[in-house]
């Protein structure tokens, strides 16, 4: 035991003002006997007779400190005064623990402390800094700096950082150039609402924050940059639903001289790389499905394909037998819930029916057929159809003994949406939506235009720059109104586990086709010119064929971790009123600031 050198080293460290020789997650048995300096937060403290044990925490882990009252009474008493979340710097010697903790990377050792310096005191935190905290959402947001100290939030932010790094490394290796597009751009009323920014230097004029860098990335293709990407903040002034944020992040990409195939392959490659490098999961090749098929089989353009339970249309077999609910329905469609016949009592069915009848879903009723284990068939419409008929339905839907059918009837679009909700609910109840099971899917060939009855005009299903599929371009230039409804866009979405991760399209690169699209979307020539004149102009100077995609980065983080909420992947999220609870923004500003901007508040009572 050489006492002297360890004090010499320590004195040198103190003189240099060094705060730590190691972090709280890295000491191992191999460091035994070493003199170290650590800094961190007091996680917990325990007194056992003459011994005080303290857990010292930093980003990297927790290290146990020991104070022995027989060795240094003053020091031990000082240690006993420390409270949760105080910040301290200690020096001491690494020794083997008698009572090892296999759940902690530093669990084999502890530090025999010889000096202690309090760097900053902490008030008692308003909630516990534990994986499961006692803090409610509002409190956690107000004290976000304490919330982030908790492992689940901290790890989410680190995951996000790694995901960004791997995304960049992959796209770079594929020849993409990351290019920053401007944040102060021009307002385009098409689409969602813009956030606007008054210009002081140009009185009466305004910038807008981008909802996406769409036109800029297309301009970069015209500029010959060939392969562009950016991990970029975008902004939408929408009434916020739960889990929407006014500012959100996209992996935004565009490529020149490509077909749909090139883009799907590149971004399937990226997605596989991200799952492999961050989760060590090897994804198989992504299946593909047309929009029409997705709607027909799942009632949704973002089906959760972790489980089958596909829709089966029954019009053919059920109609014309005198049951008016079916006979009058545009669509009769059902799903088969395997092995569920024995699990649904009449009471359970009543509750499920009520769940389907809530205004959020709006089903009129729910028809069931149970193929009981004992061979009997029970159904809510047994009065109208005999066992023979019901068996025929069962066959068509692939049902066997023990299975249960749920059937809805009504107007096609509504009925599909309702059955989609039921299918997802059954998937959850039957434990078919495991968070560690990942099922990606490309959905292809979306409609180009949606007819809006209310405003009596077409809307772009994706956005106004999306190209119709090659075979539909002639139709688009010359076709009539009805033809327009049938146009397919060269657009695609990536769906994972029922969540839309991203979407994109081959773009129009021809001025006349783009002008025609603006026409169809109800732009006057002047409006199109004022808002997108620069892009139409650019198309006249050698625009290459191009296309792209954007992934929702916040959503990707959450989905990859089987989470439904994006909040903990955002360091400082806003609440449903768009408020940052910690800094208390938005806030009132000085009248001087408004005056300088030539603006006046006009608040109504």
């Amino acid at each position: 035991m050489q006492k002297a050198p360890h004090w010499v080293i320590f004195a040198l460290q103190m003189k240099k003002g060094m705060f730590r020789s190691h972090n709280c997650g890295e000491l191992r048995l191999s460091h035994q006997g070493k003199q170290v300096v650590l800094s961190g937060w007091i996680q917990a403290s325990r007194d056992f007779g003459g011994m005080t044990f303290i857990d010292l925490r930093d980003r990297y882990g927790i290290t146990q400190l020991v104070f022995n009252i027989d060795d240094d009474q003053a020091l031990c008493e000082e240690a006993r005064k420390l409270g949760r979340e105080d910040v301290v710097k200690i020096s001491g010697k690494v020794r083997e623990r008698s009572n090892k903790n296999p759940n902690r990377s530093t669990g084999d050792i502890e530090i025999e402390v010889d000096t202690l310096q309090v760097l900053n005191k902490s008030k008692v935190p308003p909630f516990t800094i534990e994986d499961d905290t006692d803090g409610g959402d509002d409190l956690r947001m107000k004290y976000r700096y304490l919330d982030i100290r908790r492992n689940p939030v901290k790890e989410s932010l680190i995951f996000r950082s790694k995901l960004a790094l791997e995304t960049r490394s992959y796209l770079n290796s594929e020849g993409f150039v990351e290019i920053e597009t401007p944040v102060l751009i021009k307002s385009t009323p098409e689409g969602a609402r813009d956030f606007i920014v008054p210009s002081r230097m140009n009185p009466g004029q305004f910038y807008a924050l981008p909802q996406s860098p769409q036109t800029f990335k297309q301009i970069l293709m015209v500029a010959g940059m060939d392969k562009y990407f950016q991990i970029v903040k975008c902004f939408r002034d929408e009434d916020l639903r739960a889990d929407r944020q006014p500012e959100f992040t996209q992996i935004d990409c565009e490529m020149s001289f490509v077909t749909r195939e090139d883009i799907l392959n590149t971004f399937e490659g990226l997605t596989k790389h991200l799952f492999k490098s961050l989760k060590n999961i090897e994804l198989e090749d992504f299946p593909r499905m047309s929009y029409d098929e997705a709607i027909r089989l799942y009632g949704s353009d973002k089906p959760d394909t972790r489980f089958e339970m596909q829709f089966v249309e029954l019009n053919e077999v059920v109609q014309g037998h005198g049951f008016s609910v079916f006979d009058n329905a545009e669509l009769v469609v059902g799903i088969c819930a395997q092995g569920q016949a024995g699990r649904y009592s009449n009471k359970d069915i009543k509750k499920l029916t009520e769940w389907m009848q809530r205004p959020q879903i709006g089903a009129k009723g729910l028809i069931y057929v149970k193929f009981e284990k004992d061979g009997t068939i029970r159904s809510s419409i047994g009065k109208f159809f005999d066992d023979e008929a019901l068996k025929k339905w069962g066959e068509k839907m692939g049902a066997t003994t023990g299975d249960m059918l749920f059937i809805l009837a009504g107007e096609t679009e509504k009925t599909r949406k309702q059955l989609n909700e039921l299918r997802l609910e059954m998937g959850r109840r039957m434990n078919l939506t495991r968070p560690d099971d990942f099922k990606p899917l490309w959905v292809l060939d979306f409609p180009l235009l949606e007819w809006d009855e209310e405003s009596e005009r077409f809307h772009a299903m994706h956005h106004p720059f999306t190209s119709p599929k090659k075979e539909d371009q002639e139709k688009m230039l010359s076709g009539d109104h009805e033809t327009m409804k049938s146009l397919r866009a060269d657009a695609y979405d990536l769906v994972i586990n029922g969540a839309e991760i991203g979407g994109g399209s081959i773009r129009i690169h021809d001025r006349s086709l783009q002008s025609r699209n603006f026409d169809l979307l109800g732009f006057t020539k002047e409006e199109a010119e004022e808002q997108f004149g620069f892009l139409l102009g650019a198309f006249e100077y050698g625009a290459p064929p191009h296309g792209g995609i954007a992934f929702g980065f916040d959503r990707l983080c959450a989905v990859m971790n089987g989470q439904s909420s994006i909040r903990d992947y955002i360091a400082f999220p806003k609440n449903n009123m768009g408020k940052d609870m910690m800094i208390d923004a938005p806030a009132h500003i000085d009248k001087d600031q408004l005056d300088e901007l030539n603006l006046e508040l006009k608040l109504t009572e």
Copy 2:
């Protein structure tokens, strides 16, 4: 010569709709005989008798295409109709060039074209797409998509992308986590002007765009994230000088449990890594200089140390000899321009003096002493001082035969600024500021506070969160007004070749010290609480000692390439009126949009 297979391959490629098998920069002699598909822009076209040569360009390079009228007259005639910047797809066979071009990576080969498809026509561009263009600034900005096709701009954007990638890779390997901080924050009138964003959901309230993520990164340190970085857009609503942009990008960093030494080492390491990986330049260890020394020796806190020519103060030797200009001056200070004596005629000196007397510099006059090669000494103040005296000055300033002294006299601060301008001008004239010579320098120990005579208050030299040096903290808490002026901040700047690359400081992490600083800066308790209450609050829950730095990313790009303007490192820069000339932003918006935001324009005539 097997004709058949090459058509088969081509047919397959066409069927797949593939736009290219290779890019325009990758074909070499080793590809000879290969059938390829290329897409790109027509750079140039030359007809020689029966042959037409076309340079096809994309991001990766230029490949020569050949059309022979004897082989395929129709094709060759079609090729002759192509104009500059038309976009085409061709297929053909790689063959060796008889007339090789060693300046081009593809210069050994050419493509014997067999099919040609025009993908998009181009109007005649308003300026030439060459390294040296004939386009003026305004035209280049309006047609930025054409400007970016030019090599210098394209390469600048690619350089920027690589610089970002290497920055991230280095900081990641050092344990930094990239965390996105919000863009919609709260306005803080301290510092430069904020851009503001009205909140529709919270009538009468406003967000502001961040001038820097300063408080958020400090909050992340309180949150225990330990090492944070972000390459992040920041915003300042300033009257734009040349080469300032309303939105700009920072490499923003913060670290916990660190001293100044840790931060300087980390970011010196980053800077060395960036020069090594992007420029293959090994920088030596960065010298350090105190702010006081920089001001005394160079008259600037960002000296260009590519050349010496340091200031020499002459009060001691020149005062008290009856020359009132010197005797009445607070400071007499000069520089020695080596070997320049023979180069400055009386007319040259007169012109230089006039240059110094321009209002931008404002010198009253310029005194010179020439030590001519023949041993004679000439000076504008030869009447007042004899050769003996002038020789003594020369010795003090290290002058030898052939050198020339320039001397200014006057009020200390102004005189130093004027001599700084002269020194830099002489450095340029004497070719001492080579763009490929890189001389980094840390400037340390800035004053904490600046007294502003006009507003009769202190301003923070760095920002209000900067810590005084440890030895000055007591003085700051208890000292009088005069003492405050002498406080040194634990702040540092990185300067390269006279450009400020970035700066940072150790921060205050103690509530009482931070409150005292707000006091000194003229904040009332209420103002401090309203604007920065969340940070003061956070300091009470275990804030660790921390510090950080931010590099100007646009500036770093320019300086590393020996450029003085940042414009070509920004894909879509704004002009001096904050306007984007391409998209024509800012612009007027609909009255509906203003109504929704409870705002009214109040324009004065």
